[in-house]
């Protein structure tokens, strides 16, 4: 709770960790999967402008191309039209082979901590591989991040399998933050969690976000989570995925759980819900059922 107090007295723009870069510009991006001639359009003509340090949630029915978009952003997949710029520099385009990098780190839906490494080794992995830090410096920074993110330094020498799934996910976010990424990409990281753990994770994520303000692209199909966490909620249409609606969330920060029953929150929810339900219905009618 001490962290909450700290957030309240820190004005957003005066925060020392305020993002100075991490502007993402997604311009008319399309992605067609064409494994055997029958072109499946996963993403179509999708354009989004994301400001440095902005928390953007992308909401849409399953199979709407959210994850495809994220994989293209991360450099795991190619795109078939359009381009993506990061701080004005080309990141992905048709002519560019996909290139992942430590400036855009993903936290995956099912988790991807290396099970054979301890928590500390997992977190130190990035800087050591990139040779941006010495072993001692990396260890110090890792322990510091762990300590600041809810006292996780006590589990530094544990293996991931010894942690709860919520702790694992937090460690994973810390591992990403360790690389000072410009953009943090979260692919439905809390999907498999019950509502209580989810609420706890939201609190931790918001704390981390206030500690080091990075641009966040957060993929989810949970509308309430999106509104509660994000500055901007982008609603995507069902396949072919494209931007249906962009909503600025004016709820003040720090976000607190009681806001979820505020008039403002409910009004935003009503507006977004219309769009999402329409798309979900379309997706359902097309027989594109939820698949895990």
């Amino acid at each position: 709770m001490a962290l909450f107090d700290k957030i309240e007295v820190t004005p957003r723009d005066a925060a020392t960790s305020a993002a100075i870069d991490g502007a993402l510009s997604i311009r008319r991006v399309s992605k067609v999967y064409d494994p055997d001639g029958a072109g499946v359009v996963a993403v179509q003509d999708c354009s989004v402008e994301i400001a440095p340090g902005e928390f953007v949630a992308i909401v849409g029915p399953s199979g709407c191309g959210k994850s495809t978009l994220l994989n293209v952003l991360a450099g795991f997949d190619t795109l078939t039209a359009g381009e993506i710029l990061l701080d004005g520099n080309p990141l992905a385009s048709v002519s560019r082979p996909p290139q992942p990098g430590p400036d855009r780190v993903v936290v995956f839906q099912h988790g991807a901590l290396f099970p054979w490494k301890t928590v500390l080794e997992n977190i130190m992995y990035g800087p050591l591989r990139q040779k941006t830090m010495t072993n001692a410096a990396a260890e110090e920074k890792a322990l510091d991040l762990l300590r600041r993110c809810g006292g996780l330094d006590t589990v530094a020498s544990s293996y991931p399998a010894q942690l709860s799934s919520g702790m694992q996910r937090r460690v994973e976010i810390i591992r990403a933050l360790m690389n000072e990424p410009k953009v943090l990409l979260l692919d439905e990281p809390f999907r498999a969690m019950d509502s209580v753990s989810k609420a706890t994770m939201h609190r931790h994520l918001l704390e981390m976000y206030s500690l080091c303000r990075k641009t966040i692209v957060f993929i989810t199909h949970d509308l309430e989570e999106a509104i509660y966490l994000a500055d901007t909620v982008i609603v995507m249409t069902t396949r072919p995925g494209t931007v249906k609606k962009v909503l600025k969330i004016s709820l003040p920060r720090p976000r607190l759980p009681q806001m979820m029953s505020s008039h403002e929150y409910l009004e935003i929810k009503r507006q977004v819900a219309e769009g999402v339900h329409e798309e979900a219905k379309k997706a359902f009618e097309r027989g594109e059922r939820e698949h895990a």
């Binding site: 991360a74 795991f76 780190v105 991807a112 054979w116 591989r129 990139q130 544990s158």
Partner: protein, 260 residues
Amino acid sequence: MRSSSAFVRWRKGLNWRGAVAVASFILLWQLLVRFKVPGFETIPTLSDVFSTFWTKYMLSAKYWKAWAVSFERVGYGFVISQVLGIPIGLLLGTRQMFHDVMFSVIEILRPIPPLAWVPISILFWPTNEMSIVFITFIGAFFIIVINVHDGVRSIKKEHLWLARSLGASPWRIFQRIIIPSVIPSIAVGMTLGIAVTWNVVIAAEMIASDTGLGRLTWEGYVSNTPAVVILGMISIGLAGYLSTKLVDYAEKKMMPWRKA
């Protein structure tokens, strides 16, 4: 009071149902033989086996030599199968070219039972010892290859993606992501492999050798001393059990993250 609590813990840890089952089995065996139930006329009792061991084998160099020889064959066959099988499995999983060339060959050779290799290996290898080690090797080789290959194919793509994101070179990814990911599959291959190795070495010794625990058992049959047959069988069981324990220990050392 420490000793009494240790005693209580020992009593709790003791699987008394298992002990009763073993005792009942021995008693039943003794009774079936003693009352000459049809089929059991020529079977020795456990006490016969034990007295044979006590009077003739316990201090016999030949008996312990049989242990050593069989262990040596299993050891060579097993170690060579791992040393060759693990890299081949890794190559099959990571190099498409290697996979295309080798996989069909491996899939054709794999179903041939190790014992079907006995005649050709006796013809091929200059010494009997080499052919037995070779047959033992065959027993564990394909198992480890298939397990490692499968292990590489089931590596989480997120791990590979993430390692690339965080700046790992392809060689580093191989060393630090692919190898540790495959270790659990190697462990499975080793567990299955060591069991097969003992199966194979015993059969091979009966066919093609004049030493080893398999030969000892067979000689017991040929010389019409059934107590020796049973002694051989019990020895093989113990030897297999010991090797499994060794492999289990090695596996635990290989995967410290699994101890939780």
